[in-house]
């Protein structure tokens, strides 16, 4: 199949059966920036499509990627539900730029709120089309035609889903009035369907990008600069080239080798003689927060109401505090990897990425070729957490493959991943607030420097508030991360709220409830507090309890934590987290995401921190960069608040934001000292 495929080509390639095209809704199209795009060969308004083959196999074509968040399963459930077909009959064809329509990428927890409803509608449209077809072929009233368990039936007659098209292709767009099954009647969606590809994972059969093999494939290695921004001043590859089968590439400051086996590639890399000119005076982690403040740009208002001046005048207690958050690394267990293969002037790249079409753009830019000549395929990937938006590894592999005229596999080492990927932004957060003696907040002024505006908005009812974001100059390459800055902003806000509660002698739960009108926020807070037994007992000596609330990307949560401080170290004993993301799509998988988010959050809360000096990362190894392990895991209890009356929101990110502030507040109760920097120490 060629890469230059028009919609007509796609349709003819699909063959007989039923095809339903998902047309982007205007709001979603704008949100994803589609309207601004020009020059893309594919029809922009189509976001996905669904094909029911004559054999009854349902194939869904979407540009979304599976990185562990389990959308291969949840989207299958959505389609199976509306088609009244078993989940096992649904095949998700994901993230292959030659075969699926354009997609901006898999981020921002958008798959569940935007892609899933479109696929549900497509499946419902297909269902109705099949009922029409059966009614007309069997000359029966359509109201008497039933679809269930992958069969269409009426009065003793029965047919598989794909049979009735009889070699023809029936193409439909989603009609305006397509009837969706309400969540209260869901039989497949909303239930604990196991991960559809789990067997391939427990048997080691699934092929991640680093597991790919191609005929004649070489192994690549890139010569990394000794520091960020270093320039290659001298280069000698004579010794490397003597190793049999080795190809050396040098283009400017980029130098790399490829060899028939990984061992030779490593030897060749070690044999390269290079000298670098390092840019001195780069900021180090010890100056980081001053640096971010000093380089801050003009603020951007994110949310504002009333007058801070008035609010502070109304206050009987005032508080100003500063919080800081370190850079942390995503540390996906599968490092960046790519396999690149040129066939004539056509390039195919397999790579672990959240943005297959973004990587295609990067490749087109790097090689000056049209995107239509590039195919990017993303095998289900060994996690990303927001860390795999960029295509640098794909570009490096493709450069080597072009030069060597053979397929090349490049797998970044852990050190490369720590050093040359990007990190979660560090930040400085300043909060000034005012409260009356009765515990009602009067003023809230919030400034985030560098880490980002996500999750800075308040659900508290504070009449005078102003929330600002100041971008800054980041010493390290920074980017997206699960929940973005919401963890930092929740840490600062909920720590601050706890301190204000203390200043007016109110229990943290009571204080929050006094300042909350938002019913969804109150409901999760009460649910978590009840499950935790908040207020029922005092912590043991050396232990503390803390709580925090959160709201981001359409989901609400509350977390309660018990922390023990032993030998000067905090140990998280127990965490209860309640979560509400509208109608729950898969309760067990949602719990899995919440548990996983809590555990991942422990790293940023207590251990993780990139250390750097003069353009060099100082702790670029797993032996030097502590991530959560089995022994760090507390007792975790999750409370799902299932709102079948509300649309489903994505839930792969937001459950991460509540842990750090709940732990901070528990540490305060245990020690009397309030942590204001992440990672927290006591």
């Amino acid at each position: 199949m060629t890469s230059e495929l028009t919609r007509r080509d796609f349709l003819s390639a699909l063959g007989g059966g039923v095809v339903v095209l998902c047309v982007m809704e205007a709001a979603d199209a704008q949100e994803s920036g589609r309207r601004a795009r020009v020059g893309d060969a594919k029809p922009q308004e189509i976001s996905a499509w669904l094909h029911i083959g004559e054999d009854g196999v349902v194939t869904v074509y979407t540009g979304k990627t599976e990185v562990g968040q389990n959308i291969r399963t949840s989207l299958s459930q959505a389609v199976a539900e509306e088609l009244r077909a078993p989940v096992t009959s649904i095949r998700m064809l994901m993230a292959d730029t030659d075969l699926v329509p354009y997609d901006m990428g898999t981020f921002g927890s958008r798959t569940t709120p935007t892609m899933a409803p479109q696929l549900r509608k497509a499946a419902a449209e297909a269902r109705e089309a099949l009922i029409d077809l059966a009614a007309s072929q069997w000359s029966v009233d359509r109201a008497t035609v039933q679809i269930s368990d992958g069969k269409i039936a009426c009065a003793g007659r029965s047919a598989g889903l794909g049979e009735l098209t009889r070699g023809h292709q029936l193409v439909r767009k989603i009609g305006p009035d397509v009837m969706l099954t309400p969540p209260t009647e869901w039989k497949i969606a909303g239930h604990c369907i196991p991960k559809v590809d789990a067997r391939d994972l427990v048997t080691g059969k699934h092929r991640y990008t680093p597991d790919m093999q191609r005929a004649g494939m070489l192994h690549g290695k890139v010569l990394r600069p000794v520091a960020f921004g270093a320039k290659l001043t001298s280069f000698d590859d004579a010794a490397a080239k003597k190793i049999p089968g080795v190809t050396v590439v040098r283009e400017g400051d980029f130098a790399a080798v490829a060899a028939p086996d990984a061992e030779s590639a490593e030897k060749a890399l070690a044999a390269l003689k290079a000298q670098w000119k390092v840019e001195e005076g780069q900021p180090s982690d010890s100056q980081l927060f001053d640096y971010l403040k000093a380089n801050a740009e003009a603020a951007e208002d994110r949310q504002a109401h009333g007058s801070i001046e008035q609010g502070m005048a109304d206050a009987e207690h005032k508080l100003s505090e500063t919080y800081t958050v370190a850079y942390i690394a995503h540390t996906p267990l599968e490092p960046r990897a790519a396999v690149a293969e040129w066939t004539g002037d056509k390039l195919t790249v397999w790579t672990g990425s959240q943005r297959p079409f973004g990587v295609r753009e990067d490749l087109a830019g790097a090689f000056g070729i049209p995107q239509e000549r590039i195919r990017v395929i993303v095998p289900d990937t060994g996690s990303a957490y927001g860390g795999k938006h960029s295509g640098e590894c794909a570009v490096e592999a493709a450069r080597l493959a072009k030069f060597a005229a053979k397929p090349v596999k490049l797998v970044w080492t852990r050190e490369e991943e720590f050093t040359w990927a990007y990190v979660r932004p560090a930040g400085v957060i300043e909060i000034t607030s005012g409260v009356r003696n009765d515990g009602r907040m009067t003023a809230w002024e919030f400034h985030n420097y560098n880490s980002g505006p996500s999750g800075a908005q308040i659900t508290y009812d504070i009449p005078n508030h102003r929330i600002m974001f100041h971008s800054s100059k980041s010493p390290l390459k920074q980017g997206s991360y699960r929940g973005l800055a919401a963890t930092a902003n929740h840490f600062a806000r909920e720590s601050h709220m706890d301190q204000i509660a203390q200043s007016v002698n109110l229990d943290p739960l009571e204080f929050r409830l006094r300042n909350l009108k938002d019913e969804r926020q109150r409901a999760v807070l009460i649910a978590a507090a009840e499950k935790f037994g908040w207020g029922k007992q005092k912590p043991a000596a050396g232990h503390g309890f803390g709580l925090a609330i959160g709201f981001e990307k359409g989901s609400y949560l509350a977390a309660c934590a018990e922390v023990a401080v032993e030998g000067g170290r905090p140990k998280i004993v127990r965490v209860v987290e309640s979560f509400e993301c509208g109608a729950v799509v898969n309760p067990d998988q949602l719990r899995n995401q919440i548990e996983g988010s809590i555990i991942m959050a422990i790293g940023g809360a207590l251990f993780e921190q990139m250390r750097f000096e003069n353009g060099r990362i100082l702790n670029a190894r797993l032996s030097q960069y502590r991530v959560p392990r089995f022994g760090d895991v507390p007792v975790i209890e999750t409370v799902l608040v299932d709102r079948k009356d509300l649309p489903s929101a994505g839930a792969g990110e937001t459950p991460i934001v509540g842990l750090a502030p709940a732990v901070a507040n528990a540490i305060f109760q245990a020690t009397g000292k309030r942590p204001r920097s992440m990672p927290m120490t006591v």
């Binding site: 990185v67 562990g68 968040q69 389990n70 196991p194 991960k195 789990a198 067997r199 391939d200 994972l201 427990v202 048997t203 080691g204 059969k205 699934h206 092929r207 991640y208 680093p210 597991d211 093999q213 192994h219 086996d261 990984a262 061992e263 540390t331 996906p332 267990l333 599968e334 490092p335 289900d380 990937t381 060994g382 996690s383 957490y385 797998v411 080492t413 852990r414 067990d588 998988q589 899995n592 995401q593 548990e595 996983g596 988010s597 809590i598 555990i599 991942m600 190894r621 797993l622 032996s623 991530v627 959560p628 392990r629 089995f630 022994g631 895991v633 975790i636």
Partner: protein, 156 residues
């Protein structure tokens, strides 16, 4: 330079010709196309590369292939027998003990080794025994539950 020319992998003798200093992980993955064991860190810190040597879990990324010669090597691909999964593989499915799945092979191999040493491990023995394996998705509680279920099944 000494070479390794035969390995006993998953019950079969496999011919190869590898520099004896190479890591067992690279030989398994690149020479024998057994890609279930994964590279995660290259320094034995994450456990994604775990395989069994004579039933004992080792980090194959820091194990020279020479150390594996003559021993029984078991990888994730060798756990299934006659189309039946190992009880721990079954338990992983039952508890949904994975998200991205990249750590799963190593977790299961470490768990199998743990169960071989201690048929009925306590919770703290499981945590201690699995401490060298990292799951960035944070499915640890489910993995502990899976090991417990597999142990229980064997007892009954």
């Amino acid at each position: 330079m000494p070479r390794v020319t035969e390995l006993k992998v998953n019950g079969a003798a496999r011919r190869l010709n590898a520099n004896s200093e190479r890591s067992l992980l690279s030989v398994l993955r690149d020479d024998l196309e057994l890609t279930g064991a994964k590279y995660g860190c290259g320094e034995g810190q994450c456990g994604a590369c775990t395989v069994l040597l004579d039933g004992e879990a080792v980090r194959s990324c820091i194990t020279p292939v020479s150390k594996a010669a003559g021993k029984r090597i078991t990888t994730i691909e060798g756990l299934e027998s006659d189309g039946r999964l190992h009880p721990l593989q079954e338990a992983f499915l039952e508890t949904g003990a994975m998200q991205c799945g990249y750590c799963t092979s190593g977790m299961i191999m470490s768990g199998v080794s743990l169960l071989a040493k201690s048929a009925q491990p306590t919770e703290s023995e499981i945590v201690h025994g699995m401490q060298g394996n990292i799951c960035r998705c944070g499915t640890y509680p489910r993995i502990v539950a899976a090991v417990r279920i597999a142990a229980k099944r064997r007892a009954s």
